[in-house]
Symmetry: C2
Amino acid sequence: MSYNQLETTFYRLAQLNHASAMLGWDQQVMMPPKGNDSRGRALAELSVIATEILQQDSLGDLFDAAEDNKLNLESWQQANLRQMRSLWTRAAAIPKALVEAEVMATNNCAYAWRSYRGRNNWLDFKPLLQEVFDLSREKAQALSAALATDQGYHNDYDALLDLFDPGTRQARVDALFNELKTVLPDLQHRIMEKQHGLPAPLSPSQPVARQTQLELSRAIMTVLGFDFDAGRLDETLHPFSGGVSDDSRITSRIDENNVLESIMATIHETGHSRYETGLNRDWRFKPLGHSMGMSIHESQSLFFEMQMARSEPFINAIQPMVTQHLGTDPAFNAKNLHRNYTRVQPSLIRVNADEVTYPLHVILRYEIERDIILGRTTVADIPERWDEAMLKYLTLDTRGNYQDGPTQDIHWPSGAIGYFPSYTLGAMNAAQLHHALAQAIPHAAELVGRLELEPIFNWLAAHIWEKGCLLSTDELMREATGDALQAHYFIDHLQSRYL
Amino acid sequence: MSYNQLETTFYRLAQLNHASAMLGWDQQVMMPPKGNDSRGRALAELSVIATEILQQDSLGDLFDAAEDNKLNLESWQQANLRQMRSLWTRAAAIPKALVEAEVMATNNCAYAWRSYRGRNNWLDFKPLLQEVFDLSREKAQALSAALATDQGYHNDYDALLDLFDPGTRQARVDALFNELKTVLPDLQHRIMEKQHGLPAPLSPSQPVARQTQLELSRAIMTVLGFDFDAGRLDETLHPFSGGVSDDSRITSRIDENNVLESIMATIHETGHSRYETGLNRDWRFKPLGHSMGMSIHESQSLFFEMQMARSEPFINAIQPMVTQHLGTDPAFNAKNLHRNYTRVQPSLIRVNADEVTYPLHVILRYEIERDIILGRTTVADIPERWDEAMLKYLTLDTRGNYQDGPTQDIHWPSGAIGYFPSYTLGAMNAAQLHHALAQAIPHAAELVGRLELEPIFNWLAAHIWEKGCLLSTDELMREATGDALQAHYFIDHLQSRYL
């Protein structure tokens, strides 16, 4: 039966994805430097094999036949068919040679990034990044040419947004981000004025050994329901959540002089991990069983990190674990932890930014990448655009500081162009979900205060994790919260937490 | 051109092999237990994809066309064509469903082995092992049916031997092993009598922390030319050498109460690794550039471990490193190290066996697996056969002790049936190569004593590593040593070292 044949094909793709996911994790966590050339080749070849599978001539006929026979399928199968078709049409739109070229270029650029970043070297990095952006534009054009009518893309950048967050379009992002741009600078100003009157948060007086930090992180992950029989925590420069749903590989950045940061990085990635490991096992290896786009994925990590972990009840609740592992430095008392974790201050580095200024980092990147893809600006102009926007949004001077400027993130080097908006859409989704949770479980904050988190996880599981790709992002949010994504839940959250 | 198309096909296979090698390493070193089901599926699918590539109908025509056009190829390309054909004919002989079934069965069995072994559980383990042997017999029959005439197989077991060590046949193994069986029991007896008069070797009085052992191992690996920018050392239950030639992943077994063992396990795997990383880079990703069969591979690890590292000059030379890392326990003086490393004593565990009794462990396993594949005995009879042979060859009683008996090795559970003989063929090759080295570099032992090992590695590189698969095993040994494999070099080595 055509549907079953399609399922078999996508089962194979899931296995290739397992291989790529694990090789990608290994590349960042375990691989010695001279292994990179071989690894890049292997990853590129796996991509090409997957592309060839998706571009087989026979698939079109199978999809037609399955479509004709649709009424004999159960409703979840119909939804799975829709997801398979969606992956197929996207893959079929991008020439195989372009897929291969992009894997090689992003592998080179992301690898070079590791060393160029530290050396503040923009000049040698630029041509590598140029190639990544060129190939990304080419990809966007190919996707747009094939799918614009069907998917309602208004331009090439829509095609990239849609890859990372299906259903998201530039016009909607512009509208939501404009709302934030209107509110945030003033809000930030008022919060900083208020915090100016408070004692400055203390930093720990001693460095904390990496091993100790990892142990504390693992203890907190356990509280958050991470199953160490089905996953690992390791250390990387840029924290990420990888692996597969039975074998979740998350990483944290460990800085001996900044243990407080590593705790939150770990909690953030644990949110991603709980989503992946909480997916519906009945739909394992099927596109229907995948996680949603990145604005939902980030909503889970940010629900964990921002909504839950930076709240007063959570900080009070884990404080004894912190002193148990780290000792009784005054920096680790609950009040000071809370002050640290809700400190608002413009800074150069996105990943260190507080939740009030973070969206401005994202908007800055969004506007640059959007304009490059739409041909309104160029890679060569990135530093100038960056400097202008940092000054305007965060009143910071970044001239000549590429390291803490445009080369700070791995996203562009690794080809994730169209990804950044998801962080802030995710923060907004998280605030809206948290608001809905508080309606559904009015004593949620008390539960957090007792670290009785199961009911909260169960709510997330039922409304997000187990849904897989059954609904669109819009439908998912409407069913979980009663409303499509709105900016005001996020703004309300900031006002109520910080003012 | 048909030859180039074949090269492209085998390039893809090399990349799939990269993925499988790394996923296999991860499975044993990093993977959490619940990841195993997904991992097994992914590895099985990669195998099936590789098999499908090798079983494409078009390959036959390509090989014919390349053969017709052979005279236009350079001689290394002709050799590469021969190697590609050899891989193709083997793969084409085994049905795809059998490949997949074998990957799944061995994955299950090898995984169960991890827990059943420790629990001395033969009964639950037996049916899993039965399935692996059944599939292996089926595979042997399929290979034999397709290739016996062409390759000169006299029976199904020849087909399995040929998979692990191309060119090796049962009749030759029987002859060589009979020679050892004639000599070794008496030799062992005489050595033990001689050693009986010496003080017993001391064991270290304190356990040695895992981290300290790993650091010492890494220091010794550096002396042995291991490049940590192109590889790693990690810890596993069963040491192995994995990864790819640019990214060599070796593991050692660490027992806090047996640091001396972990040192030698590391040196052994370093020998495997130097061979893989020393392969000819001009033939990278090409079958001609592969390492030879396992009797040559083991000859390199055993050259490192047995010929070099257990020699008096080497032990004396690394002794200062040992005390530097481990302290001044009397167990770590050079005399005692030497006594430890040349102690001959029958024992239950193959991997702990000395080089005199080791071949008897191998012969025991060889005779059992050979007889199962040839239908002369069954999996159910393994314990009885084991007990009989242990009593006869090593005068040890193993009844009821499955853990230190037939379930001690991962080879059978993971489907490596036909592999064991390579260890002892490898030991014999190593002795013969060492003899030839001593002719070529008469002051080799002095070089070892000064840890000036480059000339020795260069000799191995020129005669073995860089040759890849250019020659047959027989030709390789003849060119390197002037003689096909003979048992007497090994026996001479034992007599001169131990009597």
